[in-house]
């Protein structure tokens, strides 16, 4: 029981940390977009690259909604496997997105972080949703 009482707030705080950094990237994405373009670029190139990054960030927020709804509804709150997976990948996302912001990484690196650190826990969350609501399993 002590593991559960530690894992639930730790998972919540890492999800919030990842969410905070994603919102920060929304605000300061100009440098990352410019890092993806050559020194001489047109406005159309900038807008195209910027739109790709905004789409990626928006989809990330959608996946956050899926995972937080699973967490708050109790479907995966006390599931140790999903808790540990979520804790690990959101810690990794927080650290790597911090580098993304400070080191001004190119935009294609965001898709790698997105695929590993946002899609994976959301897919497991959807599987747990199907298991609990569809197959009537106990949510543990």
């Amino acid at each position: 029981m002590s593991a559960i009482s530690s894992l639930v707030p730790a998972r919540f705080l890492t999800i919030i940390a990842h969410l905070v950094i994603v919102i920060t990237i929304f605000w300061s994405r100009e440098n990352n977009v410019k890092a993806s373009l050559p020194l001489e670029f047109t406005q159309e190139q900038y807008d195209s690259e910027d739109q790709k990054l905004v789409v990626a960030l928006a989809v990330t927020l959608g996946l956050f909604a899926i995972e937080l709804s699973g967490f708050f509804s109790g479907v995966s709150m006390f599931n140790c496997s999903q808790g540990l997976l979520s804790l690990a990948v959101h810690c990794g996302a927080s650290v790597s997105l911090s580098f993304f912001v400070f080191e001004m990484w190119e935009c294609w690196t965001y898709w790698v972080i997105f695929a590993v650190c946002s899609v994976l826990p959301a897919v497991v969350e959807i599987i747990l949703f199907v298991g609990v609501f569809g197959l009537k399993k106990k949510p543990l």
Partner: protein
């Protein structure tokens, strides 16, 4: 006769529905952890701003004192809310809801009105205000549930 009365009292007590709100308790629990992280981040950001930025000393002292006041108010508010929800006491939950407004005012201060507002502070204060909004809503629902019940 005594056994009959005892049995009736026991079954009558056992038949009372539980009125405590589980979502509200969940919010209080996560709010404790979130506020601890928020406070730590604010302390580190004030150290950063005090060193890097040309912070006037009077403004810095004011902001830090308000941070200490926020800690005291938040601790009392969560304690009264926690106790009121679990013990189904309307008065303690009322106290918690009334203390929500100075806490929200201080969160709005850190969101908009302090001398230097970092983006990180803006986002963290906005999330804290979301917590307050949800707790206000669920607190009012729980308060009406407690007041409606006929207990003893």
């Amino acid at each position: 006769m005594a056994i009959k009365h005892g049995a009736r009292f026991f079954f009558s007590a056992g038949n009372q529905p539980i009125l405590s709100s589980t979502p509200l308790q969940l919010l209080f629990y996560l709010n404790i952890w979130y506020f601890a992280a928020f406070y730590l981040a604010e302390i580190l950001m004030f150290i950063y701003k005090g060193i890097i930025l040309p912070y006037p000393p009077d403004n810095l002292i004011l902001d830090v004192v308000l941070l200490v006041i926020l800690l005291a108010l938040e601790t009392l508010r969560i304690f009264y809310g926690w106790k009121g929800n679990l013990c189904e006491r309307s008065l303690a939950l009322c106290a918690s809801l009334f203390m929500l407004f100075p806490c929200a005012a201080l969160a709005v201060y850190y969101l908009l009105l302090q001398t230097f507002v970092l983006r990180l502070e803006f986002i963290l204060s906005a999330i804290l205000l979301c917590f307050y909004g949800l707790e206000l809503l669920l607190g009012l629902i729980s308060l009406s549930a407690f007041s409606r019940s006929k207990v003893y």
